[in-house]
């Protein structure tokens, strides 16, 4: 584990120092200042692509029946987990991370892959497929990785928190709430590694789906929609 620490304090949130490309600032603004206009544009192209293949429209759908609504929520969670899993898996594969960052990516990546697997198994044939991602270099540079990981984990926590009260099935709700707190643990872990307060506020705010997808779209990490559903027919059968 990390060896710095008990002797020195974590400084005040130094967003500008951390945030050369503005991605973290956007998430922070989205979480802390919900009226910011830039993010109100909602699901952009990238956000829409992230969820392509899901049963319902990206936003604003009034689901008929709770089972359908639960499926939409789980598919939305799956989309975010695909994004996170791909991010950590690629970072680990490229080998640019050192020390505690490498450890964090390894542990958290395994969690995100487990979340993907569990959600896909639960959704079965209704599961959306995995989009293609282009992380634009943030998986091969430790400072960029750090900023992006902080943003993704805070975003994931806020997204699950927003959706949890809408889940009708007790079984799915229990599962989601237990993943929600793991995402928060991830967030605190990477924040501490980044030198910012692991728990910046007494209350964590939720973030709506359209705003989350808006943030994702702004990253331009999603480059194409999935071609098939998770358990769709293989393209070549011979």
């Amino acid at each position: 584990m990390s060896e710095r620490n008990t002797s020195e304090s974590i400084g005040a949130l130094e967003l500008d120092e951390l945030d050369a490309d503005g991605a973290l600032r956007e998430v922070s603004d989205a979480l802390g200042h919900p009226t910011r206009g830039q993010l109100l544009k909602g699901a952009g192209v990238g956000g829409a692509m992230l969820l392509a293949g899901a049963a319902g429209p990206v936003a604003g759908a009034v689901a008929k029946g709770s089972a359908k609504q639960d499926r939409e929520i789980l598919n939305y969670a799956l989309a975010l987990e695909y994004l996170q899993a791909a991010f950590y898996t690629e970072a680990e594969r490229l080998g640019a991370l050192r020390g505690e960052f490498a450890h964090q990516a390894q542990v958290v990546g395994a969690h995100e892959r487990a979340h993907v697997k569990a959600l896909r198994q639960t959704l079965g044939a209704s599961a959306i497929g995995r989009p293609r991602f282009d992380f634009r270099g943030v998986t091969e540079d430790q400072p960029a990785f750090r900023r992006t990981a902080v943003a993704f984990e805070d975003l994931g926590t806020a997204a699950y928190k927003d959706q949890a009260p809408r889940i009708k099935s007790r079984a799915y709700l229990s599962a989601a709430i237990r993943i929600h707190s793991v995402e928060a643990r991830h967030a605190a872990w990477i924040r501490r590694l980044a030198g910012v307060l692991p728990a910046p506020d007494a209350f964590d705010e939720p973030l709506t789906k359209s705003r989350v997808l808006g943030v994702v779209a702004d990253t331009k990490f999603v480059v194409s929609a999935p071609r098939t559903s998770a358990f769709g027919s293989p393209r070549y059968t011979g």
Partner: protein
Amino acid sequence: MTDEINLEVIGGAPETRGADSRAAFLERAVVAGGAIIAGGVLLTGLPKLAASAPSADQDAEILNFALIVETLQSKFYEAGLKSAGLSGELRQFAQVVGGHERKHLAFLKEALGKGVKPVPKLSLGDGVSSAAKFRAAAVALEDIGLAAYNGQATNLTPATLGAAAKIVSVEARHASWARDLAGEVPAPHASDTVLSADETQARLREAGYLG
């Protein structure tokens, strides 16, 4: 490390798992020679939580239960800052987290209004007698608190769940921070464990916090 999770399995777990793991826990406690009160026996004044359909009354019982946990945490950090000889980031942790717990407490009291029930007698034991003991106690207290909240999620009405969830992830951040400070993996599982109300009270009793 558990990386294999299954939504159906872990989701369905609380109902069936509670009794089993409580029995296992009691068995361990007995083997360890711990003097422990059976999980089903509740002290007077403690909420008797039943897992029935969510309702306003049940929300109030659960929030009163949360009030006990938050009161304990709040007192723990206050006393730790006073007498555990904390310095550096561990001191900062106690200050920041203690401040959060006080705000959670205020939130719960406001939400409960006249429905606030008296909190049972709490004692801090020797968890605040040194920095090392404080750190270990903080890990346990935050992990227990989080598991207690997570264990009640499906018993709450959606509106109250939405409010509680704002606290839950902050407790998870505290637990992660405490574990990191203690040299433990901040996020030990892909899916966090849950404790029923009985299990939570047994754990708190075992640690000497509840009389």
